[in-house]
Symmetry: none
Subunit: 71 residues, 2 copies
């Protein structure tokens, strides 16, 4: 691995996009970034951007499928 240049494949998501993925408020995503629960990149203007890859991994980890329904 050691891909030091995260680009050309790693799409960046806005707080609003990440928020809709988790069904939370964009402000909540901001808190996650501030708390270090999710990596974030800042634009020169101070806005946050998130790596889609990381977000998807996070979603997968936090997803609990009902193994199967016993009826």
């Amino acid at each position: 691995m050691t891909a030091t240049v995260p680009q050309s494949g790693g799409r960046l998501l806005t707080p609003g996009e990440v928020a809709s993925l988790f069904r939370v408020d964009p402000k909540t995503v901001t808190r996650w970034a501030a708390a270090g629960r999710i990596g974030s990149i800042r634009t020169p203007g101070g806005h946050r951007r998130f790596r889609e890859e990381e977000v998807n991994e996070l979603l997968a980890k936090l997803t609990t499928e009902a193994t199967d329904l016993v009826e």
Copy 2:
């Protein structure tokens, strides 16, 4: 340019919304999730989110059995 992210798993519902749909207490929904009877996604903060698709399926099943058929 508002980039829209493809909702990978469909929309997500909050415990309160699911509770309203089933006409039960949110706590009950939590128990269902804890018992693995319904899949759930957790936010990094620990709150649960439910896939609308799955909820509707369960809802449909219960509706089907409303007439109380032979088991």
